[in-house]
Symmetry: C2
Subunit: 276 residues, 2 copies
């Protein structure tokens, strides 16, 4: 609604949120599916080096980390000069980001930043404009928020306060460089085990694996269910995969310590030995 | 966007939020100002017993308690059978409400319910519909929220949790009947003093006085400023009135104990004696 001057935009569809964004955009103009990984249950990131972007497109949309499917854009698409709009809800603050490559970075804070109920937006100043689609609610105009220092409505004070605490925690720890190092270390423990296990298998193409969300399966739905149940009994919670992919998913956001990942892998080894 | 089937609605303009709602509605259809108290700086509630409501209006809007101006609808407008839409942000849970008289009751939770960042909506079931204006964002459709038990997006969990605590606190205390009694008692202490003081004067017509927000003035801007400054030094915070009305405003929401109001009146008496 804020960017559709030509009423045309390109969408890379890599999962459920990308699909929702793509379908929503159709209400406001011509939304073009530039690429999709729906053919293999969104288990990879499509090649985005030469997308069919046309000159009249207002922007190119991606969902940078796909929570349900466990994929992540390791290389940003070549947008051929068009504005890149990225939903970073499930990877924001997990590693450093070169904001100059984006037009808009946005995301819910509830994964790595703070309590659910707030959104963070980083927008290039020239994209903040009063020329929005007719009927755009005032509170949904980026210009309204920018002109009012994000205080057009009463802001979610508690959420902001906790986010501030998290920012300080991150800075004290060594910032996003250090966070990236820790996240890579954590994810490696789990992915290395998945690659050597005879029972468990990661579902995502190796080059597209997320640092945050790690889906895996045994290949046997009953065994998957047994694993989830026994893991829960052992104190390892929320390992059931999304219903659209089944199996298991370990979300190892910033707040998950290395010890948690080690405990999971130890449990998986034990389960594999017991159920081989 | 959800209710404008005929693209025409009536607005009673009693303050800044009502004005914003009225202006916003103009984007989507014909918004008619049914009555206004702008002529006397919104210091009263207009007579709403015979509003110029026409048969093609989709609804009638009011802002039931006007935070800045300290007015409250003591009697709901005669909507002539049209749907009543009421913003109750600053009076919700301050007293019992007969929900059957409304089509939609909505409000931010940040006054009497819980931490800022959430909205409560009570809507009549027959008003939940897919027939919304074209271009209505999916997340702004009441039907989306109703169909998904308010979980279409990740909900503001912490805010909901605290609201639940407040609901229990209210119930334990005796519910909204008891809350009303306490609020009337609190407000009476302050209004009685304003009515007898030679220095301080309430700005609102007596019959329209809010139980939640009590604006008052000395009639001398310098003396007002002195009062606000000295009150703050004495531990009485946030007494400066909104810049559009000047003077002072005491917000005595549910969370303010009677003792707080007594302390304010004691300080006002002392100030009046010292500055007479």
């Amino acid at each position: 609604m804020n960017l559709m001057k030509n009423k045309k935009a390109g969408y890379v569809v890599t999962g459920q949120w990308a699909k929702k964004a793509y379908q929503e955009a159709k209400m406001y103009g011509e939304a073009v599916e530039l690429a999709s990984s729906a053919d293999e249950t969104f288990s990879y990131i499509p090649d985005c080096s030469d997308l069919p972007i046309t000159d009249d497109m207002d922007y190119v949309y991606i969902c940078e980390n796909n929570t349900i499917y466990g994929t992540k854009f390791k290389t940003l698409p070549d947008t051929k000069g068009k504005v890149l709009v990225s939903d970073v809800s499930s990877c924001f603050l997990s590693e450093p980001v070169d904001v100059s490559k984006y037009g808009i970075i946005y995301g819910g804070v509830q994964k790595n930043v703070g309590p659910a109920g707030m959104v963070i937006v980083i927008i290039r100043e020239d994209l903040i404009s009063d020329e929005v689609l007719p009927g755009t609610p005032t509170m949904l105009k980026y210009k309204t928020q920018a002109d009012n220092d994000s205080l057009y409505n009463t802001p979610p004070c508690y959420n902001i306060y906790i986010c501030g605490k998290v920012f300080k925690w991150l800075k004290n720890m060594g910032g996003l460089e250090e966070m990236k190092k820790r996240n890579e270390e954590k994810a490696k423990i789990l992915y290395d085990f998945l690659d050597e296990s005879k029972m468990f298998k990661g579902t995502v193409r190796k080059e597209d694996r997320s640092l945050m969300n790690v889906p895996f399966v045994t290949g046997d739905a009953d065994l998957d269910a047994k694993f989830v149940k026994e893991a829960k009994a052992a104190g390892l919670e929320n390992l059931k995969g999304h219903r659209s992919v089944g199996g298991m998913r370990a979300s190892i956001y910033n707040a998950m310590p290395k010890e948690g990942v080690i405990a999971l892998v130890d449990f998986m080894k034990k389960f594999e030995a017991e159920n081989a």
